[in-house]
């Protein structure tokens, strides 16, 4: 045995087995990397074990996952109705009628459910335009707060029982109180009833009446009528705080007319000039070319001065600023004699008489004002109703029937109405919901919703619009006319009554059917005529107006909101959540004050960056107590530039009875009691108002908090482009040059697409959808916003969620001020997804849930979205909306709505309310992003239709929802790759004013905007510029 030289252990010495094993791991010579080839498959756990575990875990997961899911049954038709094809929409011409408002519409009916209203383009009055309220009215049909059966003293009854009881009581004179009735057949029915019950009378009551104007016209022209107006013929428009684009008389009609004068032909730019005298910032004032601020009590003096000025006389009785305005107005009016128009929002007869005289002096009578076709929108005379209230209180009224009218809520002295009604033996309400008046009536016989009704309307003399039902009545309701017919002993059903009424006039049943299909009858040749004016009325009016001196104290102007009106929209969640165009607030009313008053009253200076920030970023606003004539109201204050410094505004229509639905609960306060009766008419302004801050705050849900694009670090002209007509005529390329300047660092406009990126430019053949918005035509009314709600099942989130910036609107209307903060220029900018060709949202989504279609759409794949919100962050336009909670009930998590979303949202998920959903559009669930799709369901349908007919698709096949609803045709849409499409034409014709928002980012939007041009003289434009600087 060879001896080792040295050994360290006996193991080594003896070369024991253990030692040899150990020494293998202690290599001394080299470092061999021994690979162990015994692989996985040779391991101890054999394949069978693996399969066993796999099988067990799969089974376990399956058991765990198979929790019980609710089963929802869809039942097919046993006998399919002939006209209903599942998945195919039917369209019926009908008419939106609410109180005196009339808009001809086409109802889209899917599987027997009306789900959307589109304007009827056969009506020359509206030309297919609608308003936010028209768009929202379809939701009222499915309102869970609608009355579902007739009641006697609050208890459910049958119609037979009610008829019997009423027949027993209705022996003698009765009074029918209705809001304005435009229906000729209904008027005939009422006449029949009145004849049957001698001594009865019909009182028309409008919450916000035009009695002043009706009486003035009677005094001036001998006719108690309202003429039709033709803003489209007017080159000069002066409005004495008449909100004719928002709430005055027939805004859809006027908006359309007004836009014709505002659209520009770039080759020969000319536009109407609108001078507005504004008390509290309004939609119309915001659109004016020039705006002068005045107190409500100064309107009379302004009218007098304007009358004097247009006749070449002196201007007296007004301050220097207003004098300048009146001079400008008179200049514009006299320069455009025969194509000029003055309107006044005042309900004071004397003021309206003077306005009539002005219109006569400027040749409006018979040109822009047409007595040949009078309008029937408002027929109520306040003094008639005031007399009725007195009669009731005197116990002179035996029976009273209400339809549409709701004086217990809207009459300034509602208590008197209530006490009077207590003395009336028989009180009957036909209102469809348990409103404030119906609540105190003994008998309630709910009427149908207009989408369930037959009927007719004559908005303008000679223009008839028909109402046909689009769904069988959902509840035990009965037409108001049916009741009246029955009670006057006529067994004819109103359905047949209307048919007979018109068949006779239209040449039998065929004529009737055809007319019903079209929905409207228009006069063959429109008559335009004036009326001879009685000048002695003017003298009397002048004396009366001059006698009332303008106040020097703070004044209050009550106004209606575009969505809510006189309260008709208050129970509609779509309208409550529609941001008011002027304030961008939802779900509340408030006191509007000017920045100047905010400074003195609340110590908030909007010109102080820190204070302005603090005011803007905190939703709780300071609450102020407003007192007038012993009545007071406490409301939060919003600072809205463009309001007279000594005038505050409050919207009526809020603070309604809780029985009207979840949407009215906790929303605002009733301001009608602040109005007063003056000279027999209801006056919606008061002087001598006291304001005292209460020290409390109240959160107001604003969807926009900052209104200036001019920042301390530069004017963001890439966001918005506006200019004066003078600037535009002087240099038509001014916008183009501005864009060129902005694109200069990236190779100029022409090479911008290729040079401003490191990526190659892609061809975009085939269809390329594009949209254009004319900012000159858009007046910010919000019809498109509600239309988008209806078309795309956009969820309502309720006030608490809007407060947190969680509103879901796919389309919003941004509002910007420029110039002087006390009296700024205002511009509205509808903003929806811009469908960028180089969309920044697309490349950041980790799962490619948002991507680009071959037709240029930026599309959103809801079921792929995991909700990282990265796309929303990276969207420069901030149009992407996230489902923060389960707003729609579409979530698979049970019981996660209650307590998290409010009752309004829960109510929107009620089975009844959900009938309004558009089945073509996915209802989004919690946790996903959504946004404007360019109404892709409509695009697909149009392409399919064209395909079925083996023809290329053309522009006229498609109207996206916002475009369809727009009363001013501000939105164009179509295939931008088609040389003959409307969108291409519009873009070519308006090349000089086109711009993309944030063009310099090279996101390549597919929406173009046409710069806003204001008809201001250059001097005024410069003045604004100087103020900006």
């Amino acid at each position: 045995m060879e001896q080792n030289k040295n050994w360290q252990s006996f193991g080594e010495l003896n070369k024991s087995e253990a030692y040899n094993k150990e020494v293998n791991n202690e290599f001394k010579e080299e470092l061999p990397f021994v690979e162990d080839h015994s692989g996985f498959l040779q391991s101890k756990a054999p394949r069978r074990d693996f399969l066993k575990y796999l099988g067990f875990s799969t089974a376990a997961a399956a058991v765990a996952a198979s929790c019980e899911m609710p089963i929802k049954k869809a039942i097919p038709f046993a006998n399919k109705p002939e006209d209903i094809v599942p998945g195919i929409a039917d369209y019926y011409a009908t008419t939106y009628v609410q109180d005196g408002d009339v808009v001809s519409v086409i109802a889209k009916v899917r599987d027997g459910r009306p789900i959307k209203l589109e304007g009827n383009s056969l009506s020359p009055i509206t030309g297919g335009g609608t308003s936010a309220r028209v768009q929202a009215s379809v939701l009222d049909l499915y309102d869970t707060a609608r009355l579902r059966f007739p009641t006697i003293a609050g208890k459910e009854a049958t119609f037979e029982a009610v008829d019997k009881a009423v027949a027993a009581e209705l022996n003698g004179a009765a009074v029918i109180v209705t809001s304005t009735i435009t229906s000729p057949s209904t008027k005939a029915v009422i006449a029949q009833f009145l004849a049957k019950h001698p001594g009865s009378k019909h009182v028309t009551y409008d919450a916000v009446s035009f009695s002043g104007m009706l009486l003035a016209n009677e005094a001036s022209y001998g006719k108690r009528v309202i003429p039709s107006y033709h803003f489209e013929k007017a080159k000069a428009i002066v409005s004495l705080s008449a909100d004719f684009l928002g709430t005055w008389l027939s805004p859809v009609e006027f908006a359309r007319q007004y836009a014709t004068g505002k659209k520009i032909n770039e080759k020969n730019p000319a536009m109407s000039k609108h001078i507005h005298f504004e008390t509290v910032a309004s939609l119309t004032g915001s659109n004016a070319d020039e705006k002068y601020l005045c107190r409500p009590s100064e309107i009379g003096a302004i009218a007098v001065a304007l009358l004097s000025a247009v006749k070449g006389g002196e201007i007296a009785g007004v301050d220097a600023k207003l004098k300048a305005g009146i001079e400008a107005a008179a200049k514009a009016l006299t320069a455009n004699k025969g194509a000029a128009l003055v309107v006044a929002g005042s309900n004071d007869k004397d003021v309206q008489v003077i306005v009539n005289a002005i219109n006569d002096a400027i040749g409006a009578n018979g040109t822009t004002i047409n007595f040949g076709a009078t309008v029937n929108y408002r027929q109520g005379i306040d003094s008639d109703f005031a007399a009725l209230v007195d009669d009731m209180n005197a116990g002179k009224v035996n029976a009273i029937l209400f339809h549409g009218a709701n004086p217990v809520y809207t009459w300034p002295q509602a208590d008197k109405v209530k006490s009077g009604l207590a003395k009336v033996k028989t009180t009957i309400s036909f209102n469809g919901k348990l409103d404030e008046t119906a609540a105190v009536c003994k008998y309630v016989l709910p009427d149908h919703h207009f989408l369930e009704s037959w009927g007719d309307a004559e908005p303008v003399t000679g223009h008839i619009s028909f109402i046909q039902p689009t769904i069988a009545p959902l509840f035990k309701t009965r037409a108001f006319q049916d009741s009246l017919l029955l009670w006057s002993g006529d067994a004819t059903e109103y359905t047949n009554y209307v048919k007979n009424f018109w068949s006779a006039k239209l040449g039998g049943e065929n004529g009737w059917n055809k007319t019903l299909q079209e929905g409207v009858i228009n006069p063959a040749t429109p008559v335009v005529s004036g009326a001879s004016i009685n000048s002695s009325a003017v003298a009397a009016a002048l004396i009366a107006v001059n006698a009332s001196k303008p106040s020097t104290k703070i004044e209050l102007a009550l106004y209606q909101k575009v969505g809510i009106g006189a309260g008709q929209g208050a129970s509609n969640p779509w309208l409550q959540e529609l941001p008011d165009p002027v304030t961008r607030a939802t779900w509340d009313n408030y006191i509007i004050v000017s920045p100047a008053m905010a400074k003195t009253l609340l110590n908030i200076d909007l010109n102080n960056g820190g204070q302005a920030d603090a005011y803007e970023v905190q939703p709780p606003k300071k609450v102020v107590k407003l007192t007038v004539e012993g009545k007071s109201i406490e409301l939060p204050v919003l600072i809205i530039p463009g309001t007279h410094p000594q005038t505050v505004g409050i919207a009526v229509g809020y603070g309604r009875a809780e029985s009207l639905g979840k949407a009215v609960i906790g929303t605002g306060k009733n301001a009608f009691p602040l109005a007063c009766l003056k000279n027999g008419t209801v006056n919606f302004s008061c002087s001598d108002v006291t304001l005292t801050p209460t020290g409390e705050t109240y959160p107001v849900a604003l969807t926009q908090t900052h209104f200036r694009y001019d920042t301390t670090q530069g004017n963001r002209t890439e966001v918005m482009k506006e200019l004066t007509l003078a600037e535009f005529t002087k240099n038509p390329k001014v916008i183009l040059e501005e864009r060129e300047e902005e694109a200069k660092p990236f190779g100029g406009l022409e090479k911008f697409e290729a040079e401003a990126t490191i990526y190659p430019v892609y061809e975009r053949p085939g269809i390329k959808w594009g949209m254009n918005v004319d900012l000159n035509a858009c007046n910010g009314c919000g019809a498109c916003v509600v239309a988008c709600n209806a078309e795309n099942n956009v969820a309502i989130v309720g006030k608490p969620e809007v407060l947190r910036g969680h509103e879901m609107h796919w389309l919003r209307i941004d509002k910007y001020f420029s110039g002087d903060m006390e009296n700024p220029n205002v511009v509205f900018q509808p903003l929806m997804c811009q469908h960028c060709d180089n969309a920044p949202c697309e490349n950041v989504c980790p799962v490619a849930a948002t991507n680009h279609s071959s037709e240029g759409l930026n599309q959103m794949t809801y079921n792929r979205c995991i909700g990282t919100r990265y796309c929303a962050n990276n969207c420069p336009f901030k149009v992407r909306r996230f489902n923060w909670a389960d707003y729609t009930g579409a979530d698979s998590f049970p019981d996660n709505q209650r307590g998290e979303v409010n009752d309004v949202v829960l109510n929107m998920n009620d089975d009844l309310t959900r009938m309004v959903l558009n089945p073509d559009v996915t209802v989004r669930s919690r946790g996903v992003i959504e946004k404007c799709s360019f109404c892709v369901q409509r695009l697909q349908a149009a392409k399919l239709d064209a395909k079925k007919e083996s023809r290329p698709m053309v522009d006229s096949d498609i109207k996206v929802a916002c475009q369809q609803s727009c009363p001013t045709n501000a939105i164009s849409f179509g295939n931008a790759n088609d040389k003959h499409s409307a969108i291409t034409m519009v873009r070519e014709e308006n090349e000089l004013r086109s711009f993309h928002v944030l063009e310099q980012l090279h996101v390549l939007p597919n929406v173009t905007y046409l710069a806003k041009v204001r008809n201001q003289s250059e001097a005024e434009g410069e003045k604004a510029e100087a103020k900006k600087a």
Partner: protein, 481 residues
């Protein structure tokens, strides 16, 4: 090859008259002793916080992201702020272990174990946020590129958020492996000293059959180097990629090319601050002041003042560019939304400036660097500052971006948003308490490795070498085995 000699001028890395066995005794004492009352209290608090966090997350998953106060304009708030903050903290560990290993910095041995553990826990915490910030977290697997039955449907490789998924998961995996491989010899030591069968068994499993053979050591060394090599680029890449979430976007205040280096510096800055906070407590509570010495604290404070200043330069550069670019949108974000003290979030910017740029300058003073209390206080301040940095970047950029119409109302978190953040502290400390109880908080083997060269009691042995003539010294070192 390490020198056997270390200059006398260098501070010892291990104080006291330590032998190998004493090192083992000192470091393993907390593992082998019963946990103190303090440990139980701390652990209980950590678990409570974790539970509250879990409930907050439960609410968010069940009821939706609406449980937080984010809105249409501010899509990310506390969630991603916390994510970036935790990821940043997770940078020091790997830097200490990997980069310092490659640079042969002996001082890392005292702190690397705890720093790496901190990294892993911090990355675990960070990961919660991008996962649970999703609106539909149950669909989170969509971010994995796996073959599926949905047609050729893949993840979007263009998305920085997807890069995050890869970057973070890679970083976590490599850090975990690195940490664990370093733990093997120490687990073996614990196993060999085990006093119960169960202990022996469990630590035996954990040690992967380590028997201290040269072969094991040789492989261990190689593996460490390989993992160090892998980790080093990760230290730079992870936060670079996190910064891409912002830098590749179009939002003013995010769209900034300076972000990658600035984020990495910031990450190291906050990471070292967190290491300081934790180790100052650990060395005191576990009596390890001889191993985690004031010298370590001094060195780490130097890193803090360096990276803090780099971050400061980055802030100033951003401000300068905000002006120099003459871009009104950037100008607004940097000069109004951030730098203007009286703008709604101006306080957060100046809070960040004070915490991150001004306060660390105190560490230019050696006296301050070596003051434990100052260091502890500053480490907290720095981490607050770095939280503000991320908040400033995310919220002040988003809340007022391009269109003034969409400018947001004031954003402040809900209780559940705060709860989620607090919950990750719970997670972090729960893990850290368990780590401190069951794992050697200092790398025993690695301390032994430097003990005879840098230990205080061994230093005098170098006196003889110091006295040698140069030639002898060179000759001796060259033949050192």
């Amino acid at each position: 090859m390490h020198l056997k000699y270390e200059s006398q001028l260098r501070e010892p890395l291990v104080y006291g008259n330590k032998t190998y066995s004493q090192v083992t005794e000192d470091i393993l004492r907390p593992i082998e002793a019963k946990p103190s009352r303090l440990w139980y209290i701390g652990f209980f608090i950590a678990v409570s916080l974790l539970s509250f966090g879990a409930y907050s997350v439960y609410r968010e998953v069940t009821y939706g992201i609406g449980q937080w106060n984010l809105n249409k304009t501010i899509g990310w708030g506390w969630d991603i702020t916390n994510f970036v903050w935790w990821v940043g903290i997770g940078h020091a560990g790997t830097l200490i272990s990997a980069v310092l290993l490659l640079f042969r910095q002996g001082w890392r041995t005292g702190v690397n174990r705890a720093a790496e553990a901190m990294t892993i826990f911090a990355v675990m915490c960070a990961g919660q946020f991008p996962i649970f910030h999703m609106g539909r977290v149950w669909m989170a697997f969509f971010v994995m590129p796996y073959p599926n039955s949905r047609g050729p449907l893949w993840v979007n490789f263009n998305s920085p958020l997807l890069w995050d998924v890869f970057a973070i998961s890679t970083y976590f995996t490599v850090s975990l492996l690195f940490w664990y491989s370093g733990l093997l010899p120490d687990f073996a030591t614990v196993r060999d000293r085990a006093f119960t069968k169960l202990r022996k068994k469990l630590y035996g499993i954990a040690a992967f059959g380590w028997n201290g053979s040269t072969k094991h050591w040789q492989r261990h060394e190689s593996l460490s180097l390989v993992l160090a090599g892998l980790s080093t680029p990760l230290v730079l890449s992870v936060h670079t990629i996190v910064s891409f979430d912002f830098a590749t976007s179009v939002i003013p205040g995010w769209h900034t090319t300076i972000f990658p280096p600035y984020f990495v510096a910031g990450a190291i800055f906050s990471g070292f601050a967190m290491v300081q906070s934790l180790l100052i407590i650990v060395r005191k509570v576990f009596g390890l002041t001889d191993y985690i010495t004031i010298g370590h604290i001094d060195l780490m404070n130097k890193v803090i003042v360096l990276t803090g200043s780099i971050v400061g330069i980055a802030y100033l550069t951003e401000l300068f560019m905000g002006w120099y670019s003459q871009n009104k949108y950037e100008g607004y974000t940097f000069w109004y939304s951030r730098a203007y003290l009286f703008s709604p979030y101006g306080w957060s910017y100046w809070g960040m400036m004070a915490c991150n740029v001004l306060s660390p300058q105190i560490f230019w003073s050696r006296k301050m660097r070596r003051n434990v209390f100052v260091t502890f206080f500053m480490s907290i301040i720095v981490n607050i500052g770095m939280w503000f940095e991320r908040f400033v970047i995310i919220v002040t950029s988003l809340y007022r971006d391009y269109l003034p119409s969409s400018w947001s109302v004031y954003y402040s978190p809900t209780i559940w948003e705060i709860g989620f953040y607090v919950g990750t502290f719970g997670l972090f400390f729960t893990c850290f308490f368990l780590f401190a109880k069951y794992f050697p908080v200092i790398a025993v083997a690695e301390i032994k490795y430097v003990l005879k060269r840098s230990g205080e009691s061994y230093k005098p042995e170098f006196d003889a070498i110091d006295a040698q003539p140069i030639d002898t010294f060179v000759h001796d070192q060259a033949h050192a085995h």
